[in-house]
């Protein structure tokens, strides 16, 4: 290993833009005159697997792989990914982590408690090793700026705060590499991430809600993926998915029991039960009769 070579890790799950972010970091480092090597694994990304990228830079870099305990910065685009990779960060290094949780299907299949086996936020993990940490709700910041998809630029901005590279190199890398038409929002997100106040308290990960028992509209929040199908097909506007992707019952009284939501939910996550004390059939038949 040549002297003075430094390393950085980016990790996340499929679809978060980890690879694009790592291209931007590499490009900014190249612009700053370093020798840069980058290597990535994006195997089962499309099926929710983890994606990570190693970047090393210096005078003359031999290998792109960051050895354990040596990374300057870890940028985790998802909470569990921060925990998975934290060992790679050097003592006194920095961790930039998104507090969003993307629970992989394999981790939330406890059908008795309806809870996920998913790590909670434990800041001691970082404090013990005297790591500098920034725990960010990047999606919320990006949403405030107008586009949730710029969340990765928020994180990148935070990474930049720990690296001594001229802003001009970052900005030109972003301009060059993000999709056309999104340059402005990504630059804004990048700046927001860079200026992110250290003290901002992260939102704890959303614990999947308990199975709520027999309701007329019964939502299984552990299985629901917030796809919005049920709420869009409901003729009575009973349901709505909120900004966190959580499905809520907004008008329980209006439900007619048509079961469209149940039949079209791809995830078996919504069930309609008849009212608990149905009108007796004979009453229903006689009431208002006389044709």
């Amino acid at each position: 290993m040549s002297e003075g070579t430094r390393g950085l890790l980016l990790s996340g799950v499929g679809g978060q833009g980890v690879i694009l972010a790592s291209m931007i970091v590499a490009d900014a480092l190249l612009g700053a005159g370093f020798d840069v090597k980058q290597s990535e694994v994006h195997g089962m990304a499309q099926r929710g697997g983890s994606v990570f990228s190693h970047i090393r830079w210096g005078e003359d870099v031999d290998s792109p792989l960051v050895p354990k305990g040596s990374a300057e910065v870890l940028a985790a685009f998802e909470w569990a990914e921060a925990i998975r990779w934290v060992e790679y960060v050097r003592e006194g290094g920095a961790v930039v982590a998104d507090v969003r949780t993307i629970v992989p299907p394999g981790a939330c299949n406890d059908r008795r408690s309806w809870t996920a086996r998913y790590p909670g936020i434990d800041v001691d993990l970082f404090n013990d090793r005297e790591l500098k940490t920034r725990l960010i709700d990047a999606a919320a910041t990006a949403t405030e700026l107008g586009n949730v998809r710029a969340a990765n630029s928020v994180l990148l901005g935070s990474v930049a705060a720990f690296l001594d590279i001229d802003m001009a190199h970052w900005e030109s890398a972003i301009e060059r590499l993000v999709p056309r038409g999104t340059v402005e929002i990504n630059l804004a997100a990048f700046r927001a991430g860079r200026e992110f106040p250290q003290a901002r308290v992260p939102r704890p990960p959303l614990a999947p809600e308990g199975f709520s028992g027999p309701h007329e509209i019964d939502i299984n929040h552990v299985w629901c993926k917030g796809c919005d199908i049920c709420s869009r097909v409901c003729p009575e506007y009973c349901l709505a998915v909120d900004v966190d992707g959580k499905l809520n019952i907004i008008d329980p009284e209006a439900c007619t029991g048509c079961r469209l939501c149940e039949l079209l939910c791809p995830d078996f996550a919504i069930e309609i039960h008849p009212p608990r004390s149905p009108v007796a059939v004979s009453d229903a038949n006689t009431a208002g009769g006389g044709t």
Partner: protein
Amino acid sequence: MADVKTYLREWAMPHVLCPGCAHGIVMRGFLAAIDQLQLDQDKVAVVAGIGCSSRIVGYIDFCTLHGTHGRAPAFASGLKLARPDLHVMVITGDGDGLAIGGNHLIHAARRNIDITVMLLNNSIYGMTGGQAAPTTPEGAVASTTPAGNTEPNFDACKLMIGAGASFVARVLAANPIEMSKVIADGVRHPGFSFIEIISDCPEYYGRYNKVGGGADMLTWMARRDAGVAVPLSEKKFVEHVPSSAVPLGMTTGVLERDIRPVFTGVRRQEPL
């Protein structure tokens, strides 16, 4: 009627399919069909190939086999010959069944072996990242046809009628009640039954072709239908129709139903 979850491996849920993927709706519709038929769970064998659609067999509580890419009809044929007492079914995708596995599919149809094939057509290779399939319509964008597909696509049902399938139907995931009924009819039919289920892939097809997410794709699907199916919920379906999608007319319902000798490995004059 029982709860469809009786037939689900609940311990394996939630499934891996993307939010809004219609393959999940088809899975539910299939379980509802089995429930209508009141078949013994241990006598139902479902064979799949490879693809997002084929992943369904991981979650349904029957005798299941997740085989190799395109070969589900071959596994299923062998199984039916060895165990004629089982209700043998295949879940396959358009890439799995019509590209790499097209050959197995046409020969199973030609033999009129008594299996039921459900082909989930989302017009794309979902699992591998949205490459064009033999079902991708001309002009549609896929990861391998960024400027629009220049090839014509298969009509899977015509192909199967030509190959000799004795029951051929097309249904929409957007119309789950009809879907379950037709699947049940196909299972009851003696001989080779082929049901093309128009499913969707919001993650790739929907995104690349700017149709939108799961709900938009269902609307779009209902609009493509030129046959018997009707949109389920006029009110909301219609209001969200995205303008950029060009509907592709197609006929749904049972398109072919014929009784002819069933292949059992020995020569027979009468259908079983």
